[in-house]
Amino acid sequence: MSLLHEQDFHGGLRGLPEHKELSTGQPIGELFMPSRLVLPLCQGVGAEAEPVVTVGERVLKGQLLAQAKGSLSTALHAPTSGQVSAIEPRLVPHPSGLPARCIELVPDGEDRWGELPRLADPLSSPPEVIQAVIVAAGLAGLGGAGFPTAVKLGVQGRPVKTLLINAAECEPYITCDDMLMRERAAAIAEGIQILRHLLAAGQVVVATEDNKPEAAAAMSRALAGLPECEILSFPTAYPSGGEKQLIELALGKQVPYGGLPLDIGVVCLNVGTVYAVRQAVMAGEPLISRIVTVTGDGANSPGNYEVLIGTPVNELVAHAGGATDGVERCIMGGPMMGFMLPNDRVPVIKTTNCVLLMQTEVPAVQQPTMPCIRCGACADVCPASLLPQQLYWYARAENSEKLEHYQLFDCIECGCCSYVCPSRIPLVQYYRAAKGEIVEQQAARAAADIARQRTEFRAARLAAEKQQRAERVAKKKAALKEQGSNPEADAKKAKIAEAMKRVGKLEAPSAESADEQP
C-alpha cells in the first residue's frame, strides 16, 4: 500500500462529519424475503427495458424479466422465484416523485434458481464471451448513476492502460463498499482479474480513502501477488469518488472536456460493480441483489444489508430494526447527493447505495437565503474547477448561452458549493434547474425545426398537387381540342349539325304555329 499526496483534484470538502462508524459495527446482514418486489424497468441511466414476461407468469430466480432496449439500457432479472402480479406505472425512487413502469413480483418463498450459465474458466475465455455474459447479466454501475456496465466495458479495441477501481465512497454515512471490501475482498480480487483479462489492461489501481483502513488491509491481502496491481489510499475528501476527480487523484491525469476516461486509456468501475461482475461471470448470477447501508440518526440499528433489487424501502427499514419515532426524512443516497423519497414504499433499485433516516435537518438549505456576497468560497471548493458564482448569476438571468460558455454541463452536482455558501444559496438547485431548462430549450428547438420542415414539405406538396391538377385539366382540354380536329369526328359532327338543322327546320315552323295559336 502506498500513500500518494502529490496529486490532488481542485477544491472539495475536507473534514466533513462522516458518521461512517454508525453502520460499520456489524457484519453485512443476510438476504431476506420481502412480501413483494417492485422492479422499475429503468434502473438508472438509459432507456426502459422491454418486458418479456406477462402478468400472471411464474418465474424462477435469475430469469430474464425485461430485456435491454437500445444501446443504453440494462436487462432486468427476477430477484427470486414467484409470480408476476402486475406490469404498470408505480412510484419509483426518483426526485421527481413521478411514476414509471414497473414489474411487480410476488415471491413464492421457494427462492428457486433457474438455469445459470456460468463460465468454468473465465480467465481463459475470449473477451467477447465474458462481455456477452456481462451484457446478459444486466449490470449497471452500483456507485451512483447506474450507467450500463456493458457500455463502459465495450471498449471496442481501444487500448486500456489502467483499470481504476473506485472504492473511495466519499459521501458521509455510506459504508456499503467499505463493508463489501472487508468481507468479500477475495471475490472482488477475482472480479478484478476477470476485468483485467477482458480489457487487456496493463495496470490495476484500487483507489480508496484513508477512513477505511480495514477495507484497504483486506484488499491488499486479497490482491497480494497480483502483478501491476496497487492500492492507493487518499486523505478523506468529498467528492474524491467522482470519476473525473478520482482519475486526477489516482493517476494525475485529467479527462478532456467532453471526453471519456477511455480517451486517456482509463476505465473506472465502482468496487461493488466489480463484485457484481465476478458474481455474473463465475456464479452465473445476474444483478439481483446489492448491499445497502441503512443508517442515520433515525435508524434503530444502523448497518449494511444484502437486499434484493425491488425490495420496498419500508420492508428494508423494518428488517433493519426499524426507524425511531422522530424520523422526518427518508433519503436515498447520501446527505450530499441523495434525494428525499416521495414515500417509503418505493423499491430499492440497482443504484440504491444507502437509505438515510434523519431526525434532524441535514444541510442548512432550509434556512432563509441571503444575497450573494461574492466571497468566492464556492469557487474554492468546486471539484470541477468551475465558477459557481458566475453560473449562479447566469442561471438566475436564464442566460443559457453564457451558462454553456461557463461549462454548466461539467457540473457534477456534488453540492460542495451549496454546502460552503455563507448566504445559504441553494446553488446546485439553480444549476440543476438551468440544465433542465437548456435541455428543454434544445428539445423545443429540435421539435420546431421538424415542424418547419413538415410545413415547408406540406406547402410544396400542396403546390405540386395543384400544379398536377392544372396540368391534368390542361391535358384534357388539349385532348378535346385535338379530338375537334379529328377528320372522322369532324364528319360525325357535321352530320349531327346537319341533322340538328333539319330537326330545327321541322320544329321551327311548328313552334311558330304553336305560338300563333293563342
Binding site: S96, A397, I425, R432, K435, A448, R458
Partner: protein, 184 residues
C-alpha cells in the same frame, strides 16, 4: 486640374465595377433577417398572429408590417428574444391574440371519428393520419398543438390535452426560496 478630375473619374469607374461585380458575385439569396426571425418563432403554425403560419409572420415582421408581440405560443420569452434580435424595446404579449398555454397535443376520440378528412386538410404539419371514411389519428410526436383541427371537426371529437411531464422529460424546479430583487 484635369488630371485630378481624370484620376477621380477613373477611381469612381473602377470602384463602380468592383461594387457591381461584388453585388453579383456575393449576392445573398433570400432575406437573412426573415430566416433569423423564423428561427426564433416556435413553428406552431397556428395562425394566431393573423398570418397563415410562422414564416409569413416572420416576413411581415421583417417588413415592419407586424408587431413582435403577436405570437402566444412563443410566450413572453419569445417576444423578448424577438426584441433582442431586432434591437427594439420588448413589450407585453398582445392579449387579443390569445394567451400563452403550456404545451398541448391534439387527441382524436377515435370511436367518434367519422372519417371526414377535414382535420387532415387543416393540419399544417401533416400530423394527422387517416383516409376518407376511415378512422383518423394524431401522430402525437409531430403535433404542434396549433388547435387548427378543432374547428373544422363536424363531430367535435378532438381534444387538446396538456403534455404532462414523465420521468424521461422531468427537470428540476428552480429554488422556491428565491429572494427576488435582492440578490439579482
Amino acid at each position: 486640374m484635369l488630371v485630378a478630375v481624370g484620376v477621380l473619374a477613373l477611381l469612381a469607374g473602377l470602384f463602380g465595377l468592383i461594387l457591381g461585380f461584388a453585388a453579383v458575385r456575393f449576392r445573398v439569396e433570400g432575406d437573412p433577417l426573415v430566416e433569423k426571425i423564423d428561427a426564433v418563432l416556435p413553428q406552431t403554425q397556428c395562425g394566431q398572429c393573423g398570418f397563415p403560419g410562422c414564416r409569413p409572420y416572420a416576413e411581415a415582421i421583417a417588413k415592419g408590417e407586424a408587431d413582435i408581440n403577436c405570437c402566444p405560443p412563443g410566450g413572453q420569452a419569445g417576444v423578448d428574444s424577438l426584441a433582442e434580435l431586432l434591437g427594439v424595446e420588448s413589450k407585453a404579449l398582445d392579449p387579443e391574440r390569445g394567451e400563452h398555454k403550456p404545451p398541448m397535443v391534439a387527441i382524436i376520440r377515435e370511436p367518434e371519428c367519422i372519417g371526414c378528412t377535414l382535420c387532415i386538410q387543416a393540419c399544417p404539419v401533416d400530423a394527422i393520419l387517416g383516409a376518407a371514411k376511415q378512422m383518423h389519428t394524431v401522430i402525437e410526436s409531430e403535433c404542434t398543438g396549433c388547435e387548427l383541427c378543432i374547428e373544422p371537426c363536424p363531430v367535435d371529437c378532438i381534444d387538446m390535452v396538456e403534455i404532462k411531464p414523465v420521468l424521461a422529460t422531468w427537470t428540476w424546479d428552480r429554488p422556491k426560496s428565491e429572494r427576488i430583487g435582492v440578490a439579482g
